[in-house]
């Protein structure tokens, strides 16, 4: 048998993968290079992004395939939606790369060679390639490979935390991620096996699925297979009850890696689900009640938990859980419109979450900064730009204008469910919108709060504490020293807002936000604003 492979369609996946290989080779050739690796990675991501353009521009419905069988079914098919998801993955990965640039680019405490940089970059690129592969998979093999490729390197990224203080925690988080991923991969494998047993082929072929669903016992088998695959994917999307790893890993991993987990990885998970749903879409009367229940549980639990958090990373972790529920919501009704809706929501979610993370990182990196609500108190006074961007991101997540795009996204994902008429789900979802607003408003009100109790904090500027002064000097001395760039939430959690305000003010003069962060913030907020003014092409 012959596979007609048409490489041009594969570039979005190939580019990062090739970049990873090149990095490894380069490391052999000249061991000292560091930034070269980063530039290579960037090139790979950008190239992949450019390569998605043809897929994007094609009309809805038709798709360019690769690895096509004589039967005409392709193992890899890129529709416009797929292209969009890939672009999203690569773009968010690029943002993560920029965030982590200085971190990966510098030599660690002990190491002489560039080994850690190489490893990190290679893992990073490999994972991205896997993420890009999943949405296009049209058979179980590609799906499994893509998913694992997207998962395992991330475990490495989490585990390779290079700061001693956080190493132990990072390893623990890695273990949590690892064990969960292993188990769910086992489930995925079982599901695949049952799928093959039900349909008789490893292809994700709507026709075959429909045929199988027609026969009762095969239908049951197929359904069981679908459930198992769902479970396997649910872990990556961190839906309840496969979410337990989320707060652990998010809380311990390096912040850029967390960003990657919260942003890029989600693309793989949802891509996989979209593939599954598209395959099952043909089967008549095959409503996935399971998805509905998962979605409802997930968003409720996530919001309820997020309501309690004061550590912003944990808060974002739980909000990610809640948003996962929203991502799954439209898939409860098997239709192409639903798939489009989920894709659109994912795009909005990823941009907003990544933006939020960027700001959190930016605030945490400034001297005396941290990642708790107390650190963000009165941020609107201290860093108006960052605060405005963060506010925009949070409003998008909450689905409130002026971030109209978030609201429209919620409307879009609710619409197919309403069309199906599953009203209980609609009601749960709408109540969760209110709950979610409560979650994000806590943060927002911290942003706009007066930092002092009743006096404007600017009165305290002259009397900044000597500690702050030293801190400022330290930062001026070596702006990229390990201390300065280290987010230390547990230290500043107890710091009262006044001190934080004072130190931050003192630091503001000395420490300027790196231009890369400014660019990222501006670019991402510009995306959100544009989407709010004219949400064209997203949904």
């Amino acid at each position: 048998m012959t596979l007609e492979l048409n490489v041009s369609a594969l570039w979005p996946v190939l580019a990062p993968a090739l970049a990873a290989l090149t990095v490894l080779v380069l490391d052999v050739v000249l061991p000292r290079a560091r930034t070269a690796h980063l530039w290579l990675a960037a090139a790979g991501l950008v190239g992949g992004g450019v390569a998605t353009v043809p897929a994007l521009t094609q009309g809805t419905g038709d798709s360019t395939g690769a690895f096509c069988l004589p039967s005409g079914h392709c193992l890899y098919a890129a529709s416009s939606l797929t292209g969009g998801l890939q672009l999203l993955a690569l773009g968010s990965a690029l943002v993560v790369l920029v965030l982590t640039w200085s971190d990966w680019g510098r030599a660690g405490p002990g190491d002489r060679t560039s080994a850690p940089t190489t490893v990190l970059v290679a893992l990073f690129l490999a994972a991205t390639a896997g993420v890009a592969a999943v949405p296009a998979a049209r058979d179980l093999g590609t799906l499994l490979v893509g998913l694992e490729l997207a998962t395992l390197p991330v475990v490495g990224l989490v585990a390779l935390e290079r700061r001693e203080r956080r190493h132990a925690g990072a390893v623990a988080g890695a273990v949590a991620l690892l064990t969960t991923s292993l188990v769910s991969f086992a489930l995925l494998a079982l599901g695949a096996a049952l799928w093959v047993a039900a349909t008789g082929s490893a292809l994700l072929d709507p026709a075959a699925a429909a045929a199988a669903a027609a026969v009762p016992e095969q239908g049951a088998l197929l359904l069981l297979a679908a459930v198992l695959v769902l479970a396997g994917l649910g872990f990556k999307l961190s839906t309840v009850p496969f979410h337990a790893w989320t707060p652990l890993t998010y809380g311990t991993a390096p912040l850029p890696v967390t960003t990657y987990l919260a942003g890029t990885s989600k693309v793989a998970a949802l891509g996989g689900m979209i593939v599954l749903v598209q395959t099952l879409a043909g089967t008549s009367g095959f409503a996935l009640l399971a998805v509905a229940v998962l979605a409802a549980l997930t968003m409720t639990l996530g919001n309820a938990m997020a309501l309690r958090q004061v550590d912003l990373v944990h808060l974002l972790a739980w909000s990610a859980v809640a948003q996962a529920g929203w991502l799954m919501l439209p898939l409860a009704s098997l239709s192409s419109r639903a798939v489009q809706a989920a894709g659109g929501y994912l795009a909005v979610y990823v941009v907003a979450t990544v933006l939020a993370f960027v700001v959190v990182i930016a605030v945490a990196r400034r001297p005396g900064g941290g990642a708790t609500l107390a650190d963000h108190r009165a941020l609107a006074r201290r860093q108006p730009l960052a605060a405005a961007a963060l506010g925009l991101a949070l409003l998008t997540l909450a689905g409130l204008p002026p971030a109209i795009v978030g609201l429209v996204a919620k409307v879009v994902v609710l619409r197919p469910v309403a069309a199906d008429g599953t009203w209980w789900l609609i009601i749960v979802a709408t109540l969760n919108i209110a709950l979610g607003i409560a979650v994000y408003v806590r943060w927002l009100s911290a942003l706009i709060a007066r930092s002092g109790e009743d006096t404007g904090w600017e009165r305290e500027v002259p009397v900044a504490s000597p500690a702050a002064e030293e801190d400022a000097e330290a930062t001026t001395a070596l702006p990229t020293s390990a201390d300065a760039t280290e987010p230390a939430p547990d230290d500043t959690a107890q710091a009262t807002s006044a001190e934080v305000g004072a130190t931050a003010v003192a630091g503001q003069s000395a420490y300027a936000m790196p231009w890369t962060h400014r660019v990222l913030i501006l670019a991402l907020s510009a995306l959100l604003v544009a989407g709010s003014i004219a949400p064209v092409g997203i949904f």
Binding site: L140, E148, A189, G200, A202, L248, R442
Partner: protein
């Protein structure tokens, strides 16, 4: 021969694997449990592949995929477990991963306000 026996075996393996995953606190033993699950999956695939006329021999191919991926996983897993052993001196999965996130004091306004 009928597919019943191999499938029963697969079910048995899956059961043991599940037990191993659930009941074992030691990381390596849990890994073995997962391996058993994967083995069950592979067995099912092979069996089905035998009994269904499939031009692409999906069963066999997928089995190969699964085995390969499993191997890769084990490598990463062992590496991480070693790191864990280094940092902690034991590989007990039920150990506390990290302290609980600091909790918010109940705010006084009856609605969630920021802690001061």
């Amino acid at each position: 021969m009928s597919p019943a026996l191999p499938l029963l075996l697969a079910a048995f393996l899956a059961g043991i694997g599940t037990y191993g995953v659930l009941a074992r606190r030691h990381a390596v033993l849990m890994l073995i449990g997962i391996e058993l699950l994967l083995a069950a999956a592979g067995l099912i695939l092979v069996t089905v592949g035998q009994f269904s006329p499939d031009p692409h021999a999906s069963g066999a191919v997928l089995t190969l995929f699964v085995i390969t991926i499993a191997a890769a996983e084990i490598v990463v897993a062992l590496a991480v477990i070693m790191a864990m052993f280094r940092t902690r001196g034991e590989v007990d999965l039920t150990g506390e991963a990290q302290p609980a996130a600091p909790e918010e004091q109940p705010a006084n306004s009856g609605a969630g306000t920021v802690t001061r």
